[in-house]
């Protein structure tokens, strides 16, 4: 992806201005919410519940623009749940609800005026298992822009997106072939290309490399480092070395037993520069987890 093309996309929908999907008369006043400079998301005292079960509690953190932020922690610590709050994917789960405040460029993402579908257009997601549509490579990329509507030529969008995902040279001669014929690593890069085709400014990645071999993983990691120039990336990973290799900041979550409910609830233990988290963390729980002394 060339920087010019992405630059145009950013200008078309500049951050820190009221996004098009927020209707007039939004309850959130501009003066009440001053977006922090450089923060894409501001998470304030956020808890997520599935019915009565509190999956993650009292999270406070800022996600910085054009950085890669990694969420690490043991299974069941709420890191994927937290990731899904960023594009309201938890809305699709019955009984899921959120308390606290989540600001995206200073706008309350959970305001009733906000359209969750439009949110997901700005905040794309890549999942653990590559999930291309059973369509051609070309149609996979064109799917989103077709629905969203675009003035740009579809061929240009497909080429730009595939180039951005480092896949263009491998597939340019077989764009009409089924996406299901690609290797796992290529399929995942196709999914990344598909997510970027609608010009989002955030990419959420939920263990994007856990189904891939080390070579394909290395390609995705390289790609993430290239893409952060144009996107803000939040990644959930079980692979601490991956978090250490690619991310600028790391958030460590863990699950602790709530004695009042006898349930394990996820919480954010420590959030800092990745170099600090992996060389000299402050909290002993972080230290124990990353050095394999878990418990």
């Amino acid at each position: 992806m060339s920087s010019t093309e992405t630059g145009d996309a950013v200008i078309a929908n500049p951050p820190n201005t009221r996004p098009s999907w927020v209707t007039e008369g939004n309850a959130v006043s501009e003066s009440a919410v001053e977006p922090s400079v450089g923060s894409v998301f501001e998470v304030r005292d956020v808890s997520v519940y599935y019915d009565d079960f509190r999956a993650v509690t009292d999270v406070d953190l800022d996600i910085n623009e054009n950085e890669i932020t990694a969420f690490i922690g043991p299974s069941g610590c709420g890191k994927s749940t937290m990731l899904r709050t960023f594009n309201r994917m938890n809305d699709l789960i019955e009984g899921a609800r959120m308390t606290g405040q989540l600001l995206y460029h200073g706008i309350d993402l959970y305001d009733e005026e906000v359209d969750p579908v439009a949110v997901r257009r700005r905040i794309g997601m890549v999942f653990q298992k590559p999930n291309p549509f059973p369509k051609s490579i070309y149609d996979n990329i064109a799917f989103g822009p077709k629905i969203a509507g675009t003035a740009e030529s579809m061929d240009d969008i497909v080429e730009r997106s595939l180039r951005g995902a480092g896949l263009w040279d491998e597939v340019k001669d077989r764009l009409k072939d089924s996406a299901l014929g690609l290797s796992g690593g290529q399929q995942q890069r196709l999914c990344i290309a598909r997510a970027t085709a609608v010009n989002p400014d955030v990419l959420l990645m939920d263990e994007p490399c856990s189904a891939l071999d080390p070579i394909a993983t290395g390609r995705i990691e390289e790609l993430m480092l290239e893409m952060k120039e144009n996107f803000t990336i939040v990644i959930v990973t079980h692979n601490m070395q991956q978090a250490a290799r690619v991310s600028d900041r790391t958030a460590f979550f863990t699950a602790e037993l709530d004695s009042t409910t006898d349930q394990r609830t996820g919480l954010l233990v420590e959030y800092d520069l990745t170099t600090t988290i992996f060389s000299n963390p402050t909290d002993h729980r972080t230290e124990n987890y990353i050095t394999g002394r878990f418990g």
Binding site: F278, S279, N280, E287, I290, T291, R293, G295
Partner: protein, 233 residues
């Protein structure tokens, strides 16, 4: 209760720590032997000590290999990473200390037949005892992760520095009084320098203890000053 998930790796880390302590113990034990050989003109004892330095070199190489393998294979993090980085930095400190002690033993040959004034002998004995004490304390600070003791070594070292100054003065007076060969006097002053350098290495070991526990290095202070100055400009 903490469950240890990487027990093999942590066993390796324990073995690595043991090698550092073992190196410190070898140097601590070599110091009085070198002093006795030197003051007693005991060439055979000096020879044995020079040969025994090979053991220190072998442990040093082993420690180096252990650290490199753990970095390559285990992706150590946080305290584990600092432990290994510290061991890699401590290794040459201790190995070099052994070389300084060997230099004292080698001086037995160079100075063979020299009779030392009681005052000079006394100062050399004191320096030897102090250097040995400092190395033992540095080893204890490392073994117990005792940051306070590690930091105190810098001040404890003052006494050894004073002895070194006293020795230079005594050697100069001795030189004038007995019209010694300049080379002999220089060699005698150098002996004091060797003990003093051993003390400096013990101070460095103490500083690395603080790095292991807190991630802090003494050079951080100067580096912060440079960064602050660059920001002002």
């Amino acid at each position: 209760m903490t469950e240890i998930l990487r027990s093999n790796f942590h066993d390796d880390l324990d073995a690595m720590r043991l090698e550092v302590v073992r190196m410190c113990a070898l140097v601590t034990e070599m110091i009085p032997r070198a002093t006795d050989a030197f003051l007693n003109n005991d060439l055979a004892a000096a020879q044995r000590l020079i040969k025994d330095d090979d053991i220190l070199d072998a442990v040093s190489i082993n420690l180096d290999t252990m650290c490199t393998e753990m970095l390559a294979l285990q992706q150590p993090l946080a305290t584990d990473l600092r432990e290994i980085v510290a061991a890699i930095r401590l290794n040459p400190e201790i190995e070099r200390s052994g070389d300084l002690v060997v230099n004292i033993a080698k001086a037995t040959r160079r100075m063979f037949g020299t009779e030392y004034e009681p005052h000079i002998r006394g100062l050399i004995v004191k320096m030897s005892q102090e250097a040995q004490r400092m190395f033992r304390l540095a080893s204890e600070a490392y073994d117990r992760r005792d940051v306070a003791l590690g930091a105190a070594l810098d001040d404890i070292d003052d006494r050894l520095d004073e002895y070194a100054n006293d020795l230079v003065e005594a050697v100069l007076n001795d030189h004038k009084a007995h019209e010694r060969d300049p080379q002999t006097s220089v060699q005698m002053a150098l002996i004091g320098r060797f003990y003093e350098r051993v003390g400096d290495h013990a101070v460095n070991i103490g500083e690395w203890v603080r790095f292991i526990v807190e991630g802090w290095r003494p050079e951080d202070v100067g580096a912060a000053r440079v960064a602050a100055q660059a920001e002002e400009e």
